[in-house]
Symmetry: C2
Subunit: 200 residues, 2 copies
């Protein structure tokens, strides 16, 4: 580090703060940027600033967006009757990548976790209820994680929303595709047995 | 990529242009920056811009510097009688990291490579000669690579500089430390035999 002038040391220090990037890699990247065309370095710097400044949360689904209402919520081709509830914006992206869902989303903002002081008031449960009260949603798919917190959040939501005339479903859990039964844990296998489907 | 708003897509695209960083890693880094404090993202962006804008070449040695004369050239504690000639600024850093040299450097800017149109005029050979003509240098250490181009550049420099009253040396080549003879190539082994030293 000390073998470089200050400008390079600063860049190495900033870059190595990124997750999974050590000092050696940061050094390599800094020297690359130094050799790269000025426009490329400026574009990189600008995109980092804009990433922070211009990324918003969609006011409908609370997912990541660059406009007040995101591309999914404003897409008339998607079914407004199905609402998939996820924990975080990144979970929305995961479901979206699967290509298995053509409805709308709602990002809860986390899971219930009394140990960490996160109760229903810390999540967007009130916002979810008013969204449902609008009346266009006919099915809620609870796509929180299958962790203890995700499961209990899902159960809590199912209980809270049951006063609305809705179908409420939970994503299936079981053996992952490509999974060898030898390596699947017992809880998952028990779930897979309980959730078995008739194939005859 | 298309599952993200434009600000995030732009950041992913810029970050994934860096060497050794694929789209998956770029996605992870962009989402990290999005969650990181604003000051950290701005610091990263600023250091990238300053890296390009404020890094200069030292006018004595042509190494990387943030001032007209670099920290090594302006360090009175280093011997001005020894001058180590390297190809690139990064080679200067490599020699410096070894801690084996306390003299000054001269960055040539490349190696002779007639096939690529790089002759003596394209390198800083004239600048090196005038540096030597100043009179304080007593030994030149030729530390170009041990590639074909590096070797021939070294030979060319030795020939060009022999009219000055100088000791001219070349870094040793041989078996790398920790190297198993089984895996050392024949040319290196031949060099190691030729360059053998008396240990009695």
């Amino acid at each position: 580090m000390n073998y470089y002038p200050k400008t390079i040391r600063n860049a190495i220090r900033s870059i190595s703060k990124l997750p999974g990037i050590g000092e050696k890699t940061a050094e390599r990247l800094a020297l690359h940027i130094l050799r790269a065309p000025r426009a490329e370095a400026e574009q990189l710097a600008r995109s980092i600033v804009e990433l922070k400044e211009k990324t918003l949360l969609c006011r409908r689904c609370f997912g990541l967006s660059d406009a007040p209402v995101c591309g999914i919520c404003s897409n008339a081709g998607r079914s407004e009757h199905m609402l998939c509830v996820v924990e975080q914006p990144s979970d929305l992206v995961s479901v979206e990548k699967s290509g298995a869902f053509n409805g709308l989303y709602f990002v809860l903002g986390g899971t219930l976790s009394p140990m960490d002081g996160i109760g229903p008031g810390e999540l967007r449960i009130r916002e979810l209820a008013s969204r449902v009260a609008e009346g266009s949603v006919r099915e809620i798919i609870l796509a929180t994680s299958t962790t203890v917190q995700g499961e209990s959040t899902s159960a809590y939501l199912a209980e809270t929303l049951k006063r609305y005339p809705l179908k409420i479903s939970r994503i299936a859990s079981g053996v992952p595709i490509g999974g060898d039964l030898k390596y699947v844990d017992q809880v998952t296998l028990r779930r897979a047995m309980e959730g078995r489907r008739d194939v005859t």
